[in-house]
Amino acid sequence: MKDIENRKNLGEEDFFKKISSVAYQESGCDGVSVFHCLHEKGFLKGLYKYSRGFFYEFSEYIFFEGKEYFRHSVLSKRPFWDKVSHVWYYYYPVEIKGDFDLSGFSRENIVFFRFEKLYGSKPSSRKLEKAKEVVKNGMENFYQVDFEILKTHYYQSINTLARLGEIFASSIKTEDSYKTIISGLQKHFGFDRIRFYVVKENEKKLVGAYSVDVSGKVKSIDYDRIILEPGSHRFADIVLEKTQQDYSRIYGDKVFYLPLKKENRPMGLLIFDNLLSQIPISLEEKDMLKSFSSQIAMAIDNINLFNKIEELSLYDELTGLPLRRYFNSRFQEEFYRAERFSQPLSILWIDIDYFKEINDTYGHQIGDVALKEAGRLINSSLRKIDFPCRYGGDEIIIMLPQATYTEAINLGRRLLNEIKNVMIPVPFSSNKEVKLTLSMGVASYPADALKPEELLAKADEALYWVKSHGRDSIKAYCEIKSPQGS
């Protein structure tokens, strides 16, 4: 038994293998079986068996019903004999010290060793006593096994906590932040499936983000959109805490729902399941996940905040149009695409006529309203693929992918007409309304320029021509360069 004492890292299986093989040799029996006593359930559950040189797991159950001597033995911790047909059984209960939780052991830790003798007389008492001594001494060391496992487990948990904390904290700056969170959870906990839903407050919906399976494959589940109202779906009820049902009771320990909240605001829902493997989700795992819920909710909040900030930095608050920085990156992409697929791309450069005068005469507030109205009009007149931008001051640029200069001119003319219907009321002034007009210049790829910066310069040139020729008009670069235009 020195081996057992010396081997602190012996796992449960190896531990019982060692102890039962030595007990088998000492006892002179035909087999030694190890049972876990599930007293509250009223039966013994077979764990391991050593017989004829083989150690193996076995799944025998012995029910106490009608066999009160088992209960008596559990309570008194005394061994007893049993005989069924030609087989003698000697049941030896051993209480285990330590606070372990292996193989679903309960805290009432009793293991039965069963010595089996086929045919003939009972095994010799002297040999049995020796075997019992082996078992008794050996089991004294069980706590070491248990302790080592708990210790390893503890360190793993600490590690997991630290790593996940880092993941959640850093997830805000990635485009795939939700993916990062769910992959992190899967990597460290390892469930059959995790599903991640996020609350979209503006839509009043619980929207699927990602799911990840046991092999780590992440899939988008954005098709899953649940109305966030009590009674609409059980997920909504769980998130809104409007359910009386205990779903963990229905699905046993195989599914765990983790609603995510921040300051009582529902942020999302994580669903962990082990339905495929049927391996119970442990209480320890649930507790750990619960302790993470506020961190995850905070991460979601941060992600939302980050998205909002990003939106603010990319869009002009006044007109709702994208800002120059955003335009520049999109323009490069679109220009590259136009080049690659040999498609036209036009730029419409717009200037609000006499904008400086409007500001100086009526004040900046009226100037802001003028800009806002122009932005609204432009936003509502474009195709989905068109991309407008407040380029600076009163200058607005519209990028028109797949549009020739004729199509750009048509759009411009429409805008020129529609802006004339815009009347900006001016309080405390003799002029009750301000009317707006626009000047526009157009340049097109590939007709006018073959490089992005060149294309912008040509559109600007066309605009300058309009401004210097009476304003409230539109001209294409190719027109001003033609004999009639110039």
């Binding site: 076995f58 799944s59 087989v87 059984y89």
Partner: protein, 389 residues
């Protein structure tokens, strides 16, 4: 190289492997082979642990699996395709019912190879059923079986006597009950297109209840100490048993075999034990050498005889001259237990529901509605899994 073999009620299996590995060692002295015994439950957990943390939970090079696990675990990437390792596998060598058990669902590639086959039959001691000699045992209806059990129970007052032995120490599993479901005219546990779980159909529930009735009436032991090998029937404490194995010898005579009650016109159920090479295999070529060697007639038949099972190759199965007539009838009309992704999980869920019901029964607290409630959960979970996997 390491092989994990499935734990078995028959210890001869381990002895047979030990002998075979020693023989292999003589023929291939450079190749070291060892084996460990794993219960089905532990093997299952180990596979999933490996998926979660492969470094801490390595797999053996070769694993023995129930054939119905092939699809699930090859889909999850745990098994290697066998033909590049073993060479061309002649599918035509295997009976038609085993071929789907070698592949992943919807795939042509082979991920496991059957080592042997088991077929469920009714076995009995002729000496203990003398008074029923006029009855053709292979023509038994379920009611006939109950009548025989009742007569035997009345006649035999020995302590621990049960007309039917229970060879399954974990009480009841889904495989055992399947024949009873088929007896009742059911198609099995699933709809034909495998799109939904049919566990709540009347014939399925009645089939399950038939099996439980054997325990309820005290015709079969439940949660009882299991004997070393020969069990109750060997010591004359039972006269019959449902067995997946070849009949054992009791004294000088071999037990008689009959078709499962009421199975004459139906499809009999078989299952196979397959070998797979794990994705974690460190000695792939050596594993191929060992499996090919083990599949050679002489070695495979040695293993089979020790365990009391049937050959997995068609020619050998047909050649078995000493095969009792009942088995000829069984193999004339068989289908293997399903092999699709969700089936092993379904098996686990159902077996757990059956276990809980057995506990109720042992406590004298059996209620039909509790069984139905459990089966409803089985259906709910299985249908959900079918929808996503």
């Amino acid at each position: 190289m390491l092989i994990w073999i499935l734990a078995d009620g028959n210890i001869s299996k381990y002895q047979a492997y030990k002998t075979l590995i020693a023989r292999f060692g003589k023929e291939y002295p450079d190749l070291k082979v060892s084996f460990e015994i794993k219960s089905k439950n532990t093997l299952w957990k180990t596979f999933f642990r490996f998926l979660r943390d492969p470094k801490r939970n390595p797999l053996a090079d070769i694993v023995e699996i129930p054939h119905s696990w092939t699809s699930l675990f090859s889909k999850l990437g745990l098994f290697l395709e066998l033909e590049p390792i073993l060479g061309k596998i002649k599918i035509e060598d295997y009976p038609h019912f085993l071929v789907p058990a070698m592949r992943a669902e919807d795939a042509d590639r082979i991920f496991s190879i059957p080592l042997w086959v088991e077929a469920q039959s009714l076995q009995y001691r002729k000496d203990m059923l003398k008074e029923f000699s006029s009855i053709n045992m292979s023509m038994l209806s379920w009611q006939d079986l109950l009548d025989i059990c009742s007569a035997l129970k009345k006649k035999n007052k020995k302590k621990d006597f049960y007309p039917l032995d229970n060879f399954n120490p974990s009480v009841i599993d889904s495989d055992d009950v399947l024949s009873c479901v088929l007896n009742r005219g059911g198609l099995g546990y699933f709809s034909k297109d495998l799109g939904s779980c049919d566990i709540l159909k009347d014939e399925t529930i009645s089939g399950i209840e038939d099996y439980f009735e054997l325990f309820k009436l005290g015709y079969m032991p439940i949660f009882q100490e299991n004997f070393h090998e020969a069990a109750f029937i060997g010591s004359g404490l039972s006269a019959m048993t449902f067995s997946w194995r070849m009949p054992i010898k009791i004294g000088k005579s071999v037990m008689q075999t009959a078709l499962m009650p009421a199975m004459r016109r139906r499809t009999n159920v078989v299952r196979s034990c397959n070998l797979a090479v794990s994705c974690n295999c460190k000695e792939i070529d050596e594993s191929g050498v060992f499996i090919n060697w083990l599949m050679e007639y002489e070695n495979a038949s040695f293993l089979r005889k020790q365990i009391g099972v049937f050959p997995a190759k068609e020619k050998e199965l047909k050649k078995q001259e000493d095969l009792p007539q009942a088995y000829r009838e069984i193999f004339a009309s068989v289908s293997a237990i399903s092999n699709f992704t969700v089936y092993p999980t379904f098996e686990k869920i159902l077996s757990s529901a059956l276990f809980d019901t057995s506990v109720d029964l042992a406590r004298g607290d059996y209620q039909r509605e509790n069984l139905i409630k459990r089966l409803m959960l089985v259906k709910g979970e299985t249908d959900y899994l079918l929808s996503i996997y």
